[in-house]
């Protein structure tokens, strides 16, 4: 596949990105752009390769991986730095200043043996050549900005003296302290309960606004995607399934996988009101007290070392036909920035609920 040029206004431009462990390719040819101040969601399940993609954006892949394709990050206006194959110092010069990472599991993401303020100050001093006291002052200011009370005193405390919510905020403060152009957040809300999830997404949004950064949000939660992102890229088994403006993709999914994920979400609104929304077409519980079924995708996602031939979703897909087992589909553009990788994208019904109603065993 020829490498398409970056969109003229893109901050971050990824073309045919491939990441492999030895001979095992885990990310299999991703292309997307991130524009200034845009929020892009990378959606996928375990083994989809979304976390590796996130690390490839920062040149922080684990040892033993090989990367090909192109990840270009706008450095000075008009000039791009290529991250794939870049030297370690070149990558280090971009991190923090141009692009920063909020790792998953933020509760363990701070060093346990360093005061929180010192950790933020270390980031400042590595990127901007300022004095120790100036760095410390900026660290306190950053903690204050994310709403940590009594930030001057708190900056001297260790992570174990912080509450869970405060640690999350401190992590976001550290990732944004050098005012990067792009923030990559790898599952920042996974394993958190609903309240903390909201809090983290709010602080992340505020900081993104404050420093004017674009955000790449890696998640498996479509609920988060709908409320917090501009564009979405859905991944399955290392490939792009569907990409486009969030409202277009979620309101009219063209790939059966996306449609199935949406259909299988329990309806958000209250029970037994009878009205079938566009997504929540699932029959609700009747007055009899018997449980009704959710639309469900059969089977489970494949392990990266056991991918089926052709379309990786084919064994689970209700629209599967012969060529799905032979040819990898697409991607095809189906509308304003909306791309889909499915041989039968124009046959995906709307809503897709009926397609995924399992028959009871």
């Amino acid at each position: 596949m020829p490498v398409a040029p970056a969109a003229p206004d893109a901050l971050l431009s990824v073309r045919d990105l491939r990441v492999a462990f030895g001979a095992l390719e885990v990310v299999r040819g991703l292309s997307f752009d991130v524009r200034p101040r845009e929020v892009l969601a990378l959606v996928g399940e375990s083994g989809a390769g979304k976390s590796l993609t996130a690390r490839a954006l920062l040149g922080m892949l684990p040892r033993g991986t090989t990367t090909s394709g192109s990840v270009r990050l706008r450095d000075e206006p008009g000039s791009y730095a290529e991250l794939v194959g870049a030297t370690r110092p070149a990558l280090a010069a971009l991190r923090g200043r141009r692009i920063a990472l909020v790792p998953q599991d933020a509760l363990s993401a701070l060093s346990p043996v360093h005061p929180v303020g010192d950790q933020l100050a270390a980031a400042v001093r590595s990127v901007a050549g300022v004095s120790r006291s100036q760095a410390r002052a900026r660290a306190v200011a950053a903690l204050d900005r994310v709403g940590i009370p009594d930030a001057t005193r708190r900056a001297r405390a260790y992570p174990h003296e912080y509450s869970g919510g405060m640690r999350q905020r401190a992590v976001i403060a550290m990732a944004t302290i050098n005012e990067p152009d792009v923030v990559v957040a790898d599952e920042p809300t996974t394993a958190l309960d609903a309240e903390l999830q909201d809090q983290v997404l709010r602080v992340l949004g505020e900081q993104r606004e404050a420093v004017g950064a674009a955000l790449v949000l890696v998640t498996h939660d479509l609920g988060v995607v709908r409320d917090h992102t501009d564009r979405v890229l859905v991944m399955y088994a290392g490939r792009q399934v569907e990409q486009g403006p969030t409202h277009r993709v979620l309101d009219r999914p063209r790939a059966p996988y996306t449609a199935g994920l949406l259909a299988s979400l329990p309806p958000e609104d209250g029970p037994a009101d009878g009205a079938d929304g566009p997504v929540g077409g699932a029959p609700r519980r009747g007055g009899s007290g018997r449980l009704r079924r959710l639309p469900a995708i059969p089977g489970s996602p494949p392990a990266p070392d056991a991918l089926p031939p052709g379309c990786a979703f084919a064994p689970r897909c209700p629209l599967v036909e012969d060529r799905c087992h032979r040819e990898e589909p697409g991607p095809w553009t189906v509308g304003d920035g909306h791309e889909v990788s499915c041989h039968r994208w124009d046959e995906v019904p709307y809503p897709a609920t009926e397609l995924f109603l399992e028959r009871p065993a």
Partner: protein, 227 residues
Amino acid sequence: MNQPTALLDVRDLVVRYGTVTAVDHVSFTVDAGETLALNGPSGCGKSSTVAAVLQLRRPDGGRVRFEGRELTTLTERELRPLRPRMQPVFQDPYGSLSPRHRVRDSVAEPLRVQGRWDATGPARVAALLDRVGLDPAYGDRFPHELSGGQCQRAGIARALASEPRLLVLDEPVSALDPSVRAGVLNLLADLQDDLGLAYLFICHDRAVVRHFADRAVEMRGGRLVPA
């Protein structure tokens, strides 16, 4: 709701760890065949409640009546024959199966432990696996050779082998991939319809609770609060 007929009747349950009160005078009932959701943020005492209801950790106060019998006053030995009637399903799909044993043996274990293993045993295990939507051929595998969803189904099969009337579901789908959650929830719904099981369903996802439960109670800081 008739108190005397409740399958599970929990009154003023208290669980303490040292000076910390994790569960503070919690009361609820679960009727036969119904689903009660216990909803709340992490650290609110849901897991302690589960352990105390199952008598896996003896509560520090209150009563737990199950099928009309008071469990808190029974000795471990007296409790043992009653335990199969209430079975847990854990959040970690790999947690309830021994990593050293084949899935088939883990599912068969309740039959052996409870002295119900006979010539029909293997067929019953195969039927249980089939019932939860697993190809009985998976019985030859070890837990780590199954996906999370398959493992959770095997864990449910194992729980069913004890022929329970109440399943205590501790976040049974929150560790699963999104595309397999609905399938496991549907399985649980079918089992309830077919076997008349009662569920105590621990969950922090409100949408799932609304869809799945007959009634819901909300827990915060060890106490029940109005939902």
